[in-house]
């Protein structure tokens, strides 16, 4: 079973729809017990970094998520689901992230329009199963005001005033800043690659 973590404010519905469209059984999970049977985990985040971390904590999902990631369960983070992998975020300085990636999530400063809403291109830094069959320079849909800095785990970047992490890979953990569930054919391909991995 593919577990979609539902912390009450995310874009779970549209990710669920995309996963089901691709022919995989998936289930929104809002309680810790249910996460135990997960073969794969997707965290489709949206909204405020601090609010999401608190909501995960309240539902006792945070500790279990850490355990599952450490145990090697494949994980795909989307948007905030990528940002949470860093040590923390300027959006909620008092709250810790999962800390799998070094550095802090920052706000776009060098651009006239924030959030970045719309389609932008990905530039691949190295090969990853997640982007198998996805062309260099493909457009994907973004909607965010904060971005993760480039680290050694970054597999693709995008430019919007800054060059930031579009996708990361660390062992069993993958994450994308864009919304694959809203990125037409390219997005479905990325989701399919994760589901088939």
């Amino acid at each position: 079973m593919i577990a979609l973590i539902d912390y009450g404010a995310g874009n779970v519905g549209s990710v669920l729809k995309a996963v089901q469209y691709l022919g995989y059984p998936a289930q929104p999970i809002d309680r810790a017990e249910l996460l135990n049977d997960a073969e794969k985990i997707i965290l489709p985040g949206q909204g405020h970094f601090g609010a999401m971390m608190k909501a995960l904590e309240e539902r006792r999902l945070l500790d279990l998520l850490r355990t599952k990631l450490a145990a090697g369960v494949p994980y795909l983070g989307i948007c905030l689901g990528l940002q949470t992998l860093y040590a923390g975020s300027d959006e909620a300085p008092e709250i810790c992230g999962l800390g799998l990636l070094a550095g802090r999530v920052r706000r776009f400063e060098a651009v006239a329009k924030v959030p970045q809403v719309g389609w932008n291109q990905i530039q691949m830094l190295r090969e990853t199963g997640l982007f198998q069959g996805v062309r260099e320079g493909s457009f994907v849909y973004y909607c965010h005001s904060y971005y993760g800095p480039v680290t050694e785990e970054t597999v693709a970047v995008t430019e919007y005033g800054e060059t930031y992490a579009a996708a990361v890979e660390k062992g069993n953990v993958w994450a994308v800043q864009f919304h694959p569930e809203k990125s037409a054919e390219v997005g479905l391909k990325v989701l399919k690659n994760f589901l088939e991995s």
Partner: protein
């Protein structure tokens, strides 16, 4: 490269797309689901669905329509028309919309914008602004509305907004050039469009869908002046709407109007211009677009 967005708009009534639709290869050109899929395949960057049903029964149909449209659509979908409350918005989002557009309700209850943003995130909140140039808003006698302002001022019911236009403007404050209309363009609120745009951005709107009532329906081009003024005034994306007649109009509104996205209905429905050829034209003119 960050792309400018091309957004077809489906005007729906009682579950059907109205305004002439002449897509080839469609079994039923009035079916929103089928049309949405066609636009998805054609390379649209997003879709906007506006419900123009007058009656309440139309609203129930809308949920079903959104559901059908969203099921196979993997690009962002904005739905608007008659959204007045948090509950209306929640229903649409649950039915599969990614964003809701509010217009009249936002003017009458500006707090609704921050409530929606707080509950669903700014990315889900599009404030639609219908604006008309002051010099163009003629009254029946042919005199401009501004000249009648003193009389109308007493009739204004929207007291919860401080930027209302009045004859007694403080020294040095420029008279607004565009005012905001509600109720489908029938009611002049006398709000300065530029200041209203800034206010909605402050309240947490994620994007502004800006329709020029002067340009709408003319197919003579977007109102680049209005678009540029609003786009400069706010830190959030502005979607230009109204007046699209040809590819050059899109180039104008992106290059001169500073629009982040452009919306049109008839021009795409009639397949006068396919989205792909429009984007190829824009790319040649130096406008960054997503070509797949």
């Amino acid at each position: 490269m960050f792309a400018k967005r091309i957004i077809p708009c489906l005007d729906c009534k009682d579950g059907r797309v109205v305004k002439g639709v002449q897509f080839v290869n469609l079994r039923d050109a009035g079916d929103p689901g089928e049309l949405a899929e066609a636009y998805n395949r054609a390379g649209a960057d997003e879709l906007v669905m506006l419900d123009i049903s007058a009656a309440r029964e139309g609203r129930a149909t809308l949920m079903d329509t959104v559901n059908r449209v969203a099921r196979k659509l993997f690009i962002p979908l904005t739905v608007g028309g008659g959204v007045r409350t948090l509950v209306d918005a929640r229903r649409l989002l649950a039915a599969g919309a990614d964003k809701v557009a509010i217009n009249t309700a936002a003017v009458e209850t500006p707090d609704l914008i921050s409530e929606l943003a707080g509950r669903f995130g700014s990315q889900a909140v599009v404030v639609a602004i219908d604006a008309r140039g002051i010099r163009n808003s003629k009254s029946e006698t042919g005199k401009s509305k501004l000249e009648h302002r003193k009389v109308e001022e007493e009739e204004v019911r929207f007291s919860n907004f401080e930027f209302r236009v009045s004859e007694s403007l403080p020294e040095g404050l420029a008279r607004p050039r565009w005012t905001v209309f509600t109720y489908g363009g029938t009611h002049d609120t006398h709000l300065d469009a530029e200041q209203w745009a800034q206010r909605v951005a402050t309240l947490g709107a994620g994007e502004i869908l800006l329709t020029s009532m002067d340009a709408d329906g003319t197919q003579a081009g977007f109102d680049c002046e209005l678009t540029a003024t609003i786009s400069r005034a706010v830190p959030i994306p502005v979607i230009a709407s109204g007046g699209a007649g040809g590819p050059e109009h899109f180039a104008d509104v992106f290059l001169r109007g500073g629009a982040d996205a452009a919306l049109a209905a008839s021009i795409f429905h009639f397949e006068t211009h396919s989205i792909r050829s429009l984007k190829e034209y824009l790319r040649a003119r130096g406008v960054p677009v997503r070509l797949t």
